[in-house]
């Protein structure tokens, strides 16, 4: 039963990711990207990573995909901008991609990975849920990296605001200096 569900969700994941890169309309691409993230979060649930599955839904579907959708709708893109040299790089690209794909397949086939979970000492310790365990590690061992990722998010936010800010003429704005020193 589980293997059937795995085949179902991974099939939908692969098909929708193919549709992301081939569909003409960018809005359809964003919607298929959301479907991809949804299915991969279900696959995370199979791997006992509940916290990451929910975070994937919140961060990707709730923030990143909506951001993509905003930008796609905000920019006035012509849907069918057919150009002549569209397929210039495609044969070389397909060649490189399939070489990489078959190399991966060969490596996975010949690897010495034990394909199932070893029943080791940590398996009995499953009374605590995944979120609790992640929090125990994240706020102790990886505390510096956690704060560093916060700084990276802050820098990205300031950068995005600074990039898209522009000064226009004729906008009614508050002069803060005059506002503060008003009698």
């Amino acid at each position: 039963m589980t293997i059937f569900l795995f085949y179902l969700f991974s099939g939908i994941l692969v098909i929708s990711s193919v549709l992301v890169i081939t569909s003409k309309n960018p809005i359809h691409s964003v919607l298929f990207l959301i479907l991809c993230f949804f299915n991969s979060s279900i696959l995370f649930l199979f791997l006992n990573a509940e916290f990451l599955a929910m975070i994937l839904l919140i961060v990707y579907v709730g923030a990143v995909a909506v951001l993509f959708l905003f930008v796609v709708m905000m920019l006035d893109i012509k849907v069918s901008q057919a150009r002549k040299n569209l397929l210039n790089y495609l044969p070389l690209g397909l060649f490189v991609s399939f070489v990489i794909f078959f190399e991966f397949i060969v490596i996975i086939k010949n690897s010495k990975i034990v394909p199932f979970v070893a029943k080791n000492k940590n398996m009995e310790n499953n009374l605590v849920d995944n979120t609790h365990l992640l929090g125990n590690i994240l706020y102790t061992d990886f505390f510096l990296l956690f704060q560093l990722s916060g700084i990276i998010l802050l820098v990205a936010m300031v950068g995005a605001i600074l990039l898209t800010l522009r000064k226009r003429k004729g906008v009614k704005k508050q002069n803060i200096y005059n506002q503060i020193f008003r009698e």
């Binding site: 589980t2 994941l13 992301v20 791997l47 975070i55 796609v72 040299n85 979970v117 995005a160």
Partner: protein
Amino acid sequence: MDIPITYYLYLSTSIFTIGLVGIFLNRKNLIILLMSIELIFLSSNINFVAFSHLYQDLVGQIFVFFVLTITAAEAAVGLAIIVIFFRIKDSIHIDDIDSLKE
């Protein structure tokens, strides 16, 4: 859960290849190129979580957490760059990004 890890590895390899083909295939739209990069990130995340489950080690999931952070930051900055590029050139066609040539 009796799914072998190699299935997850095949799945993430296929998604990685689809993202890579998407970068080469898509010469018209910069936003779809960013989406292909998101697909590649997703495949690496599936790999990390699968191995984290295989070895019963939570550090892989911590790494996926940080990858998610970096991906969100990258999407925000990349889309801001696309917006100002559209404002300057009135198109987001990839072949129009040649301002540094002359």
